[in-house]
Amino acid sequence: MRQLTALIGKEGLEVIRTGKATILLLVFIVFGILNPAIAKLTPWMFALMSESMAGMGLSASEIQVNALTSWAQFYKNAPIVLIVFLLLFAGILTHERIKGTLINLVAKGLSRWAIIAAKGIVLVACWSVGYWLYYGITYGYTAYFWDNGAASHLVFSAFCLYMTGVWLISLILPMSIFFGSGSAVMLGVGGLFAVVYVIGLLPGAAPYLPTQLLDASTLIQGDGRLSEYAVAIGIALLWSVLNIGIAALLFKRQAL
C-alpha cells in the first residue's frame, strides 16, 4: 500500500510538472466555455449566413437556441477532449519502459502491480477531474443564459459519457503491454473502439456494449429510458477493472 501511495504521488507530480495538468485544464475549460458560447453565437452566425444566402436567392428563418443547443455542443465536443486526453496519456507506461526509468524502482523491490494500479488510478482521477470540470462549466454558463430544466436526465447522460471515457482510458494500460510506443497504443485503443462499435451495429448487441453509452445524449431530449443503459454501464465498469487487472497480470511477466 505504501508503494502504491508513493507511486500515486510520483504520477501526480509528473502530471503537474510536465505541463500535462495545465494542458488538460486549458482544454477542458476552453471546451466547457465553448459549448454554451457556440449555442449563444449560433443565431448571430446564422443571421450573418442568411445575408449571404439571401444574395444567392435562398431564405432562412430565424433560429431559436436554448439549453438543449448548449448540451448538444457538449456531446459533440466531448470526443475531442477525450482524444486530447488519450493523446496526452497514451505513453504513460510505454514511455517509462522505453526510457528505463522503472528499472531502478523495480530493482528496489517495487511491485509491478503497484505500477499499473498507480497509473490506472491517476488516469481515472485526471479524467474525472477534467471531465466534471468540463461538465460543470457548461452547466454553469448554460444555466446563466438559459434554463437547464429544458434538458432531462442531465447528470445521468453525462455519467454515461464519462463511463465511455473511463473504459477507453483504462484500455491504455493493457495496450501498453502489447505495443511499444504511445502512438501505437493510441491506434490500439482506437482500433478496439472501432471493433466494438461495429459489433454494436449487429442486431441486439448494442445494449451490452460500452459504445451504447454514446447514445445516452438522446436522454436529455426526453427520448429513451435510463434502464436501456444500465447493462452497458455495468459492462463498461467491469471491463475497465478487467483492463487494469489484465495489464497488471501481463506486466508481471514482462521483461524490463
Binding site: R2, E14, T101, N104, L105, A107, K108, G109, A255, L256
Partner: protein, 302 residues
C-alpha cells in the same frame, strides 16, 4: 556463506544463447569484477540476478534466497546501478531519493537522513535543480546514492564507468572502494584498468561462458603456466634485425625493441646464450608481466 550464487544459469533470446551454464559465487565484502566484451552477456546476467529477466535454466540465490522473475523480494538486499541510470527528470535528487525510500519501506526519518548523507557523499548535496538538467556524471553519482539508499548487502553495478570521462570514472571507482567496507560489490565492465584498480575477485565472461575466474594474482599465475613474454631493447635497429634473423618468431614492438614468447625459463637462458655467442649486445632484457588486457585478449582468442 556466499552472498550471491549462480548455478548453471542459461538464457537465450530468439534462439541465440546469451548466457550459457554460468556458475560463480561472490563472497561478502568483496568487489567482484565481471569482465567481458560488449554483448558477452554481462547485462543479461545482472538483469537475471535482479529478477528483471527470466532464467531459462539454473538457479540464482541472493543471501541464500532464490531469485524469482516478476516477484523480486530478494531485491531488498540489492542496490542496482546501471551504465546510464534513468531518472524522472521532473524531480530533484532529494525527491527522487524520497520516492526510493518510500518504495523500499524506509521510515521518513530514515530516508531523509540517509538521503542527505548520500547526497553529501556523492557531491550533490547542494544541487537543488531538477534531474533533467544533469550531466551523465551527475546522473551516475545520483545512481550510486539511490543504489546505496537502503544500505544494501549487495551492490550491482552494470558498467558504471563506461559512459564517464576520466575524472568521473575516478570518482565512481573511489566511491565503490569506499562502500566496499559495508557492501559487497558486483561490478561489470569492459574497462580492464578499472578492474585492476579495485576488484578483489574477477570472472572473464566470453560468449556467455566464464572462461577464467579468481583473484588477479591467480589469473596472472595461470597465465604464467602458459608461457612467458620477453622484451629486448637493442642499441640499434641493425642489431634488432640480426636478432630477428636468429629468432624469426620474434616481433618488433618499437624502434630497437623486439618481443617474443617462450614456454619455459630454460628457453630464456637459451636466448641469453645465443645473444652471447653471436656477440649481440642488448641494452635491456625484460620479462613482461602480462596486463589484464593481454590476458583478456588471449582468452578471447582461445
Amino acid at each position: 556463506m556466499s552472498l550471491l550464487t549462480l548455478t548453471g544459469v542459461s538464457k537465450s533470446f530468439a534462439g541465440r544463447q546469451v548466457v550459457n551454464d554460468l556458475s560463480f559465487s561472490v563472497n561478502p565484502q568483496t568487489i567482484f569484477g565481471f569482465i567481458g566484451q560488449n554483448g558477452a552477456g554481462k547485462t543479461t546476467t545482472m538483469k537475471m540476478i535482479l529478477g528483471l529477466l527470466a532464467v531459462d535454466e539454473g538457479e540464482i540465490k541472493v543471501n541464500g534466497e532464490p531469485v524469482r522473475f516478476g516477484q523480486t523480494p530478494t531485491n531488498r538486499y540489492i542496490g542496482y546501478l546501471s551504465d546510464v541510470p534513468e531518472f524522472y527528470g521532473f524531480m530533484t535528487p532529494a525527491e527522487y531519493l524520497a520516492l526510493c525510500g518510500k518504495i523500499t519501506g524506509m521510515t521518513a526519518a530514515t530516508y531523509k537522513r540517509r538521503s542527505s548523507e548520500l547526497l553529501e557523499l556523492v557531491g550533490l548535496s547542494k544541487v537543488n535543480q531538477r534531474i533533467q538538467g544533469f550531466s551523465r556524471g551527475m546522473k551516475q553519482r545520483l545512481g550510486i546514492a539511490q543504489a546505496l539508499l537502503n544500505d544494501p548487502l549487495l551492490l550491482i553495478c552494470d558498467e558504471p564507468t563506461s559512459a564517464l570521462d576520466p575524472v568521473g570514472r575516478k570518482e565512481v571507482l573511489e566511491l565503490l572502494l569506499l562502500v566496499k567496507k559495508h557492501t559487497t560489490v558486483v561490478f561489470s565492465t569492459h574497462i580492464l584498468s578499472d578492474v585492476e584498480r579495485i576488484c578483489d575477485q574477477m570472472a572473464f565472461l566470453h560468449q556467455g561462458r566464464i572462461v577464467r575466474s579468481g583473484t588477479l594474482q591467480q589469473i596472472k599465475a595461470a597465465h604464467h603456466t602458459n608461457g612467458l613474454k620477453l622484451e629486448i631493447l637493442f642499441d640499434s635497429e641493425s642489431d634488432r634485425e640480426r636478432f630477428k634473423t636468429l629468432f624469426p618468431d620474434s616481433q618488433a614492438s618499437a624502434p630497437c625493441k623486439i618481443s617474443l614468447d617462450r614456454q619455459t625459463e630454460a628457453d630464456m637462458l637459451d636466448i641469453l646464450r645465443i645473444l652471447t655467442e653471436h656477440r649481440l649486445p642488448a641494452r635491456r632484457i625484460e620479462r613482461l608481466e602480462p596486463s589484464l588486457e593481454d590476458l583478456f585478449t588471449e582468452m578471447v582468442r582461445e
